[in-house]
Symmetry: C2
């Protein structure tokens, strides 16, 4: 696993982490942020601004010099707005989207239903809300580099009993070809981020992720998982925020080393076709099942271009596609049908050594 | 419009219409069909078998000789089955799927909700049902040839008050480049099929189609429409069946002339890219909004390969794609945002002549 640590320990990493130049001006006016600097709404907005900038810069370092993120700062008539950064048709990244949004207003029942996994105490009526989140999907060109998705969000909803708040989020990996070392590195990085806060988190949120990114009609998961959680309002607001911060900061060390490692791997027509078919499955999950997409599309005056930036540049659907027995494609499918407990395997390896 | 009639009046057409060789054996055993030959379930099964065979043969006539439909006859553990015919990666048709299904069993509430546009008198519990339908989506290779979709279906659901039955269906056209003569021919053919049964049908079902194939988040329709109806149980069962028969028989004369006319049109990279982007919109509609797809995916042990055969072989999503002002692409978008009353325009042309 030594090879993966190159990024965490180097000056390069520090430099990225210390950047204060966001992709655009914050959505909330700076004076307002300064006046309310202890408010969780402010803390979350500054966190997602920083995470967006760090991640975009880290990806640009892997790209050809001329390939840069385009930055669209948009506002929403009803309140708030967002910053959508997209790098499309690069040499390394076929489509990379990193979006933040800070929105408030009133939510219709259809959107409220998609807001949390359990709908406790939310009446079936329009309610004032605040939501701030960062969300990214990176579709690389090379089929040996996996796709990553992450999303970290903070919600406040006001009902008759006062303000309810909670955090949600997750990071998950979708390889086209299974590399067990990559999956192990990815899960281990996430586990470290979890373990600093609660020793039960990784196991619970790993299972939640396997359950969430399930495509029922195909009986398979979208990828090799990661972590996923929702409705997090314990042990207290600052501790939950510290956990979310750790998770969001783990994205770069979990993923960028995999890009570095595989971005120049050899591949051909066959591997590209398989990647396109798997991207079709990605579209199926996002458009049919993903609560984030549904929440977005049901929010009045949603910016659909930002919601749908998660869709790949190219995707393919073949009727009755069959993988060859004992092929690398079949190896992936087996894992998607029966998720592995990656780190238990790692423990066993160690105890055998 | 004379050019379009070539197909209807020729021996070629008669030959196709008189074919009795279905794509596979009927789903219901032949003796059972013979014993219940006056039952609407039998009549509908024979109609969809015939429509499927006629349409597949008509499309094969437009293809290279070696490109033929593959035929998958499948059965469903809970009752019934289907015949899925797909022609993939042909010279003329990139992906053409023509499916029939004849299924029965018990329906879960989630599927019942997607069964009809108004949910009258159906309790929120598992109910015995019968459904027989034909459904097709044809994605041609050449961007100058439009995509067609049609679906004609018959339902029976048994609730505490007895058996409820109804028909539903429709035919609609999705061009990549707008050809007004094509749209006019298509709508006129459908209008003739409607007018023989009820002079109010075409106008009502044309509007229903424009409303149904609407992508709210983009504020545009999927294509130039056609007809769409559901919950049809008037004036009586035989009359409704006769109407559905006329509609299904209108598919070939409405569409195949357009394939003949445009399949060798010149096009280049630019037109292909636009076609792929529009196919992305097609995927969005089918996976997010289409009730037929939802009904299928919510039916226990559904054959998802048959449901998802409607998805194109290739599709594309570009962030913030913009069409050029005054381009052919913009011309299409305008029509998708504001549907035209094609035949009123035709009437005006005539009265001016």
């Amino acid at each position: 696993i030594v090879a993966y640590n190159q990024y965490q320990s180097k000056a390069e990493m520090k430099e990225i982490m210390q950047l204060k130049n966001y992709m655009a001006n914050p959505i909330t006016p700076v004076e307002q942020l300064e006046q309310n600097k202890d408010d969780m709404k402010t803390q979350m907005e500054l966190l997602i601004m920083r995470i967006q900038a760090e991640f975009c810069r880290a990806l640009e370092k892997e790209e050809d010099k001329e390939a840069k993120f385009t930055v669209d700062r948009w506002t929403r008539k009803e309140g708030g707005g967002g910053i959508t950064c997209v790098l499309q048709d690069g040499r390394v990244f076929e489509k990379a989207g990193v979006n933040i949004s800070v929105v408030s207003g009133k939510l219709p029942p259809a959107a409220i239903q998609q807001m949390r996994s359990r709908g406790k105490n939310l009446q079936n009526a329009e309610l004032p809300f605040f939501a701030a989140g960062v969300s990214a999907v990176i579709h690389p060109r090379n089929p040996m580099v996996p796709t990553i998705h992450f999303n970290y969000r903070y919600f406040e909803v006001q009902d008759k009993d006062g303000v309810q708040w909670w955090f949600g989020g997750g990071t998950d990996l979708t390889p086209y070809y299974l590399n067990e070392d990559d999956a192990l590195h990815f899960h281990l990085t996430l586990k470290h981020a979890c373990d600093d806060h609660d020793s039960s988190y990784y196991a619970r949120f790993k299972k939640w992720c396997d359950d969430y990114f399930y495509i029922p009609h195909r009986g398979e998961r979208r990828g090799v998982g990661g972590i996923f959680f929702d409705d997090l309002d314990t042990p207290n607001q600052q501790a939950a925020f510290a956990f979310v911060t750790s998770c969001a900061e783990a994205v770069i060390p979990s993923y960028v080393p995999l890009v570095k490692k595989h971005k120049d791997d050899a591949y051909g027509y066959h591997e590209r076709q398989w990647q396109l078919l798997r991207r079709g499955r990605y579209v199926e999950f996002n458009l049919i099942y993903d609560r984030g997409t549904k929440f977005g599309l049901h929010t009045p005056e949603a910016r659909y271009e930002s919601i749908l930036m998660s869709l790949p540049l190219n995707a393919k659907w073949e009727y009755m596609h069959q993988v060859q027995p004992n092929s690398e494609e079949e190896k992936l499918l087996k894992i998607l049908k029966e998720p592995k407990d990656w780190l238990q395997i790692e423990d066993k390896k160690r105890s055998n050594a």
